[in-house]
């Protein structure tokens, strides 16, 4: 490279809600030189297309739309003088924290970062990954793509819509398309429970009489040029379609909301260890990945359902990144105490904790693996139960959390393992 390598204290990859909150926190923690790299032409990430309300109740105690929520953070970043490069794609991150970017304005540049915050977000699982049989015509959209087309570009992707998958974006788009005059025949969900928030089922489906067909999936897509019909069938407990239950729905559009996948290609290039469950980095209490000085937050770490929690989490990553960049860092060989997800708990973030280095308390976020009623969330320090909290309803679509207290951990001598699990009583 002919150009000299630039240096910045904290480089944040991604200018969505996670990246913005991390950059702000890093700046507030005293990092002078914080740079946000954003591939889009504006900050805010996915919030820009999430024009519905319901954001910010935890953070701002008011109900904002996505663009309004983003604007609060953009304004704060502006006040703090957070530098940003828009239209800038990160193409590589090295384990030594050299970040390579490309943009129309600058061409290829390399930046040596004191600390890196990964905040690349997630992508939607495409139709192809489901191996749904049928043709591959126009009119098959992932819900987020359709959302962008409608809300940002003002396009109407279709008039007669079937939605596969009950993720939140799919539910939101069911309402959105209905409001714009399209007809949504149904939302089919292969699992026996929804992947989205309950409130979205009420206000996006129930309000408009759109049926949610649980344990149903699409078994055929017709139409060589444009979608002409899809066939939906019920599935058995093994998620296999049940012969004889097929119903054909003539339609011009199939929208998919069948899961979100953290975008960790860059994390991989940096050698960051990834979790097979979350598909995001394995992190400690500081949200530091397996590569020193590289932190992760938001949907690249694990897929969230509430942006407020993304912002909270990202603030931790930003703060710790600022501390790391200020150095000097003592090499730390120990990975801390493992946090184990057991019985009904799919994963925890973080997945290990060093009680000596944690704050007074630590929020551990997790998801459950099924729908549960009247279960207790329990925390064990080795074999000793220290928390036991009843929850009326838990579902995979809604993130849960427990708070670990540092004194509890320090008081437990020889602590080798923290377990989070669900118990009957």
């Amino acid at each position: 490279m002919r150009k000299a390598i630039e240096r910045h204290d904290v480089v944040v990859v991604g200018g969505g809600p996670a990246g913005l909150a991390a950059a702000i926190a890093a700046r507030e923690a005293g990092a002078d030189d914080v740079l946000v790299l954003e591939r889009d032409s504006q900050l805010g990430g996915i919030l820009n297309q999430c024009i519905h309300n319901g954001f910010g109740l935890h953070t701002f105690k008011e109900e904002l739309t996505g663009p309004e929520y983003a604007a609060r953070y953009v304004d704060r970043a502006d006040e703090l003088g957070v530098a940003r490069r828009l239209g800038t794609m990160v193409v590589d991150i090295s384990a030594g924290r050299v970040v390579t970017t490309v943009s129309a304005a600058e061409g290829v540049t390399r930046i040596a970062a004191g600390a890196v915050v990964l905040a690349m977000g997630c992508r939607e699982r495409p139709r192809g990954a489901l191996a749904t049989p049928g043709h591959r015509p126009a009119g098959i959209y992932s819900a987020g793509t359709a959302q962008r087309l409608v809300n940002m570009e003002g396009q109407l992707p279709g008039r007669e819509v079937v939605i596969l998958g009950s993720g939140d974006i799919g539910l939101i788009m069911a309402r959105r398309m209905t409001l714009e005059g399209a007809h949504v025949a149904c939302v089919a969900e292969i699992m026996p429970y929804s992947g989205g928030l309950k409130r979205n089922i009420v206000q996006c489906l129930d309000d408009y009489g759109i049926p949610l067909l649980l344990s149903h999936t699409v078994v055929d897509i017709e139409g060589r040029r444009r979608v002409e019909a899809v066939t939906i069938a019920e599935v058995d407990e093994g998620l296999r379609p049940i012969a004889g239950t097929e119903v054909r729905h003539p339609c011009d559009t199939l929208m998919l909301s069948v899961g979100l996948l953290p975008e960790n290609e860059l994390s991989r290039s940096a050698g960051v260890e990834l979790s097979a469950v979350t598909r995001g980095p394995v992190v400690d209490q500081d949200l530091q990945t397996s590569v020193p000085g590289i932190f992760a937050c938001g949907n690249v770490l694990h897929v969230h359902d509430l942006v407020d929690f993304v912002s909270q989490e990202a603030a931790v990553a930003g703060l710790q990144a600022a501390r790391y960049a200020r150095g000097p860092q003592t090499p730390d060989d120990s990975r801390g105490i493992p946090v184990v997800a057991a019985e009904g708990v799919r994963y925890t973030v973080p997945s290990h904790v060093d009680p000596d280095r944690m704050g007074d308390s630590l929020t551990v976020r997790f998801r459950v693996d099924n729908e549960y009623r009247d279960r207790h969330v329990s925390v064990y320090l080795d074999d000793r139960r220290v928390q036991h909290r009843r929850r009326r309803i838990m579902a995979p679509g809604e993130m849960e959390q427990v708070v670990l207290r540092r004194p509890d951990l320090l008081a437990h001598e020889g602590l080798s393992r923290i377990t989070v699990k669900l118990e009957e009583a």
Binding site: S41, Q42, N48, I51, H52, N53, G54, L57, H58, E63, L64, T65, G66, P67, E68, A71, V150, N151, M152, E153, G154, L179, E180, G181, L197, K198, R199, I201, V202, Q203, D207, D305, L306, R392, I393, E398
Partner: protein, 121 residues
């Protein structure tokens, strides 16, 4: 007096608390299952006078960066007026510059509520 109960999911926030609203003679006598005062208020309102915020997006002219500007009703409107609001937005175009909170359609569909911008353009 006729006593009835309605099972609702609170939509005040993403927690989605399951509410049980009890009515006697059409008057709410109790709300249970909520974990905050907003849930109580939602439960009472939803069975007597359900309302919603309506959000949408309208074309904007003259903006260097945006084709569309997102909008919302400045406060909630009766649930049965949602489509009236949407129909009133057909043909509406905003003109740049637009600031957050700018009124795009005053008193939309005669609801007494303004449609306001939720992004800059």
């Amino acid at each position: 007096m006729a006593r009835e109960t309605r099972e609702l999911i609170c939509i005040s926030c993403p927690m989605g608390c399951p509410l049980t609203v009890t009515l006697e003679g059409g008057v709410v006598t109790s709300v249970t299952g909520n974990t905050c005062p907003r849930g109580d208020a939602y439960g009472r309102k939803e069975v007597t006078d359900p309302t919603r915020i309506v959000t949408s997006s309208v074309p904007v002219d003259g903006s260097p960066t945006e084709r569309m500007v997102s909008v919302k009703t400045a406060s909630d409107i009766p649930k049965d007026r949602i489509f009236d609001v949407m129909r009133a937005l057909v043909g509406v175009r905003a003109a740049a510059p637009v600031g957050i909170g700018d009124v795009i359609v005053p008193d939309v569909a005669g609801t007494g509520v303004d449609m306001v911008a939720t992004r800059r353009a």
